[in-house]
Amino acid sequence: MSLVIPSKWLPDNNLQYFLILKNLTFYFVQAYVIFQWQYSFAGWIQPLEKFLNDPTLTSPDYRFEDFYPGLVASHSWSGQLGSPAGGGHLWGIPIQWEVHILAYNRDLLDKAGVAVPQTLMEEFAALPKLTGEFDGKKTYGLCAMLERSWATLDNSFWPPYASWGCTDFNRDMKCVIDSPRSVEFCTKWVEAIREYGPPGTLAMSWYEQLEAFCSGNYAFYSFPDSIRAIITDPEKSNVADNLGYALVPQGPSYQRKSHVWSWGLSMNKETKVPGPAWLFIQWSTLEDVLVKAALLGNVDPPRQSVWLNPQVVEATQEYGGRDVIQQTMEKYAQIRFTPNPVAPAMGDRFVQALQEIYHGEDAQKALSQAARDIDQILKETVSR
């Protein structure tokens, strides 16, 4: 049997995923967690636990308990609105993840006389001191993007937002991004980006955000750790030599909440070859396959044994930050999206409100409008 792997990144084109899943062109798909929720709700992919628990299909050496429990939890969902991630069916096998940590430009912090912030209040207070001119270079305190896409939430927004005590939906699945706490945080955050953040942030993709930090002109960058290889590469990055890592700062009530992101392999519901599909998924996530993948650049392997594998440790040591990442993964990281089938659309609409605030709209008004729109999008997706 020949295997066709969709190597293409399909830019925000759900239709193509729909087609791939419906047309049986491919029998598995690699997807972000929030897309898995969408696909599982629409019935495009199928639960995997029946394959996992079938001894005729799954090798005893597979040792599923070796996967980080937090990752497995984020791929598990009952499909019932309002129920949290971590229960119900297993929709994907994790293959790659990233957690958010804080990167900072040591040189710039020293020159401004700023200590590494432990809390968000300290971080906000330090921003004005770091923005200005140092050695004839224009510098900025905060490297944060604000592109109108859910990807913005995933690229520096979730950790401070969650640490501030905010979330996207309450238990009744009503959107609460217009709660007083959220309004307070969004106002502060957007103002910080406007005053101390990159020019053109509203059209900045995560890659341009990364490029900006690599220019060496930015102090703080709350970032997904899987791109350490780029910021520590002296060829591509001017901060490679004076880079520091820290845990993401705590919120006002000393909560520290980071965000974890996981990619998983899922199976098409209508596949005619579920057995071979599962064997392929299983093979891709075997310990020694993941070790090989880690050595080739998948620096955040989903199995604990692979993360601790001496070869992998040696290969990833040069990127630094292993202890910070491990601590974050064990204590602070969790997926911050509430499971629901419209998470990407929710993210898009939320960031649209943040952009409106950036342009001077009243925060309460912009976020209330967004919350109502998100409720509407959710309603029309789930109700018939």
Binding site: K8, P11, N13, L15, L19, N23, Y207
Partner: protein
């Protein structure tokens, strides 16, 4: 006095024209510079005007590149081939059907002829997604998604009405007496069209064909919805330089330049037809 004012006016016209053309050409010049800069030179700010040029971006998109253990096949030739097949195929089918349709709508007494012609015109102006979104579901059922045949058929939405509309204007100009004379000589309908009408309207045929081809070549929304990895044409493929892992500005610029070069060649010999096509075809139609 008079001649001084005249000279001033001439200088003014000259300056205005130079400014306008500088504005038209500057973006192309700048992107050309990008295409021969290294990545570091592209991102450096303020922009570098003196740098050592490299052809790396061109070799990467034409011949592929190797990163680490992986070699990445070049995409650009694939997209270019797809664009040629799709636009060429679309034009071929359009000519095949369009010449007859244009002839019938220009020369026969068909009930509701003007209305049919107007319908063709309005199809030209449909918001393209209004057709593409439903067509997507239909193609999904017929398994035409991401196939050359499916896309060439769908491209008719763009090429066929335009072609018929333009050509009809030219055919209406052909004197009825020529056609009647040919009929008296015993020519069949096909002979009338191929031996009498087509030679007369050849410039019009060129114009309509070229415009249809350009519209097909430039189309994006249609491919965005209906094309997948195996049929994607240049405009769609170009977006993937804004990849998941990086934005390859150098390669994107090189690809843009490679699009512009045929465009210039094309422009050089087609501009006459393009202008005539639009003005004559539509005014007479």
């Amino acid at each position: 006095m008079h001649s001084k004012g005249h000279t001033l006016a001439k200088v003014g016209i000259g300056v205005a024209l130079v400014a306008f053309f500088a504005w038209v050409l500057f973006p192309l010049f700048w992107i050309f510079l990008f295409s021969i800069k290294s990545t570091a030179d592209i991102v450096s700010y303020p922009p570098k005007f003196i740098f050592s040029p490299t052809l790396k971006s061109y070799t990467a998109i034409l011949l592929g590149k190797t990163t680490g253990l992986f070699s990445v096949a070049p995409d650009f030739p694939h997209w270019f081939k797809n664009s040629l097949i799709l636009s060429g195929g679309a034009l071929g089918l359009t000519c095949l059907l369009g010449i007859f349709a244009a002839y019938a709508l220009a020369k026969y007494k068909i009930p509701g002829r003007e209305n049919i012609s107007f319908t063709f015109a309005t199809i030209c102006f449909l918001p393209i997604l209004a057709v593409m979104l439903p067509l997507f579901s239909i193609y999904h059922k017929l398994k035409l998604f991401d196939t050359y045949l499916g896309l060439i058929l769908a491209y008719q939405l763009i090429t066929l009405p335009l072609f018929v509309l333009l050509l009809r204007g030219y055919i209406m100009e052909v004197p009825q007496s020529f056609i009647e004379a040919a009929h008296l000589d015993g020519a069949t309908e096909w002979q009338v069209i191929s031996k009498v009408v087509l030679p007369i309207i050849l410039p019009g045929l060129m114009a309509a064909g070229l415009l249809s081809f350009i519209y097909a070549w430039n189309n994006f929304a249609l491919a965005l919805v209906l094309a997948g990895g195996s049929t994607e044409p240049v405009p769609l493929g170009m977006l993937s330089y804004i990849g998941f892992t990086e934005i390859q500005r150098g390669q994107m610029s090189a690809a843009i330049i490679l699009c512009v070069v045929p465009a210039i060649v094309f422009a050089a010999f087609s501009q006459k037809y393009i202008v005539r096509g639009f003005s004559l075809g539509l005014l007479k139609g």
